[in-house]
């Protein structure tokens, strides 16, 4: 059984299943993935934006919109492969049913990841649209170019969530994941202010977090300021390496847990 996932028709069958279920529960899903990040955006855009003139040489709204794009994608993908996947795996026994068919475990997991990334894009695109209408995106082209990068990073966010799911014995476990993984990215990855304001130790932690690297690429793009391509390549490589490692760990742990 190959670990490396390829988007086979079987992977797409798993992703399609999530879509069919999502259509039924669309309103609650839109609240979490669209309304939630927009509330944050309004709160910080209006609230903090009033006190902060310029940050990093740009208006605060211009600064915070790409941060919220990254955060909303990260949150949506993380939520989907933790609470969502765990419910399917553990509560609904849906994974058992799926694996009793020709679908392999890596296809099942990658199908989950692809769907989580698709939901992340829904969140990210909503924030981009609202941010642009609000005047927080000077370069719409840049923001559009950043979307595929958000997608790649979201595949990563989904994989980190799957690692948590592969370790979880119950829903309580995810409180660790959200407290020590999701929240640190929310506060330390540079959504609301530049991370060089932190002490060096905190900065090191911030650069270990994948969302910091995503924001470092997409903020210049949507602000319309030049992006250092060398650095961007480095940020992207780090993100991809972490993603692959997370997927392999999640695959191995899940395999051991379900099949041994």
């Amino acid at each position: 059984m190959a670990v490396i996932p390829i988007a086979t028709p079987y992977t797409m069958a798993v992703t399609w299943r999530q879509y069919v279920v999502w259509r039924k529960l669309i309103w609650s899903s839109l609240v979490t993935n669209v309304a939630n990040p927009l509330l944050f955006l309004f709160a910080f855009g209006f609230g903090l934006g009033r006190f902060i003139e310029d940050i990093d040489g740009m208006r605060y709204l211009v600064f915070v919109v790409p941060g919220m794009v990254a955060y909303s994608a990260m949150f949506a993908a993380s939520f989907e492969t933790t609470i969502g996947s765990f419910s399917r795996y553990f509560m609904q026994r849906n994974w058992d049913a799926t694996l009793a068919t020709p679908v392999t475990l890596s296809e099942l997991l990658f199908g989950e990841v692809l769907w989580a990334a698709a939901k992340a894009m829904l969140s990210a695109v909503s924030v981009v649209i609202v941010g642009w209408l609000w005047g927080g995106i000077p370069s719409l082209t840049g923001a559009l170019i950043s979307l595929p990068i958000v997608f790649i990073a979201s595949i990563g966010f989904a994989c980190y969530g799957l690692v948590a799911t592969s370790l979880a014995r119950g829903y309580e476990f995810f409180s660790y994941f959200f407290t020590f993984w999701v929240t640190p990215m929310f506060v330390f990855s540079g959504v609301f202010f530049e991370i060089d304001r932190f002490p060096v130790v905190v900065q090191a932690i911030a650069w270990a977090l994948p969302m910091t690297h995503l924001i470092a690429i997409i903020r210049p793009l949507s602000a319309g300021i030049p992006l250092d391509l060398g650095w961007a390549a480095l940020h992207l490589s780090y993100t991809i390496a972490l993603t692959i490692a997370a997927f392999v760990i999640a695959y191995r742990r899940t395999r051991r847990r379900m099949f041994d």
Partner: protein, 300 residues
């Protein structure tokens, strides 16, 4: 090729850490037969079924399905097996029809092709009126029937059924029995576990009794009855009537009574004092099961 058994296990072993759940069992399942795997909770039945499905790795021994070791099972072969697991692991939020269409895609079937087969599958399990109901609205028996219909979507040749009728009302059980026999008549192979001995007796061509990961005996229901509990059971409550010598009969002490297993009930009854109170009935598979696996409760 037709002689190759659908399932063949030799020395099949499954260990969970130190614990050996299946201890080197040998068995075969021939084509177009219904084989029953009977045993108390924790005997190793579900583990064996999961190994056959490739859902559980084999710790030792050999296990082939359609003549191919499970470790090398291909997608094509996997698509020829249908699984009815113990839990109703359906998609609760979508409709009955959508459940089948979604599942069909896992077999590589295009949604349009599956959509054409949905009415036929639902009719087979008498669920055609429920096509557009969500699974949450179904009764327990309907959910079970839907799990069985779902297992047939890949045009399965082997259907593995883990307690298909547990908790169902008699009407639903009778329907499921009828349809399972129909599947067998179509040439499908069935491997079944159940705690209902009447069900096993009715459906199974051969029964494998398993406990603590070991096979205790196997044979047709009638063979097992003849071998272990003769043909008749005479139950005498304690204390035994005075003057009754029971040494020459095959007996089992069950606490407040003694069961005698005899071929000809007259032999024993003739020995009993006139006033003795006893109960006489035909021996059945339940007697075999309890005799082989003991009468202790198996809650953990």
């Amino acid at each position: 090729m037709t002689d190759t058994p659908v399932i063949a296990a030799r020395g099949l072993t499954k260990r969970f850490g130190e614990f050996e759940a299946v201890k080197g069992i040998d068995f075969q399942v021939e084509r177009a037969r219904c084989i029953g795997l009977l045993g108390p909770n924790g005997a190793g039945k579900t583990t064996t079924m999961r190994m056959i499905m490739g859902l559980s790795t084999v710790s030792g021994g050999e296990l082939s399905v359609f003549g191919v070791p499970v470790q090398r099972m291909t997608r094509e072969l996997k698509a020829r097996i249908g699984m009815v697991s113990q839990e109703n692991n359906l998609d609760p939020d979508i409709t009955v029809g959508e459940n089948l269409i979604v599942y069909g895609r896992y077999f590589g079937l295009p949604p349009a092709g599956v959509r054409d087969r949905v009415p036929e599958l639902l009719r087979f399990m008498q669920l055609q009126e429920k096509t557009d109901a969500t699974v949450n609205q179904l009764s327990g028996g309907m959910k079970r029937r839907l799990v069985i219909a779902r297992a047939l979507i890949g045009a399965s040749e082997l259907v593995i059924l883990d307690e298909p009728t547990t908790g169902l009302d008699p009407q639903a059980r009778v329907l499921i029995w009828k349809q399972l026999l129909k599947l067998k008549a179509q040439g499908k192979t069935l491997l079944l576990t159940t705690h209902y001995m009447d069900e096993a007796q009715r459906l199974c061509d051969r029964i494998i009794v398993i406990d603590h990961g070991e096979i205790l005996d196997e044979g047709t229901p009638q063979e097992l009855i003849d071998r272990h509990v003769k043909g008749h059971v005479i139950e005498i409550r304690k204390p035994l009537p005075t003057g009754f010598v029971d040494g020459r009969f095959d007996s089992e002490d069950v606490g407040d009574a003694i069961l005698y297993y005899v071929q000809a009930p007259r032999d024993l009854v003739a020995d009993l004092p006139e006033a003795a109170v006893y109960m006489h009935r035909q021996a059945n598979l339940e007697d075999v099961f309890l005799r082989l696996t003991g009468r202790q409760l198996r809650e953990n």
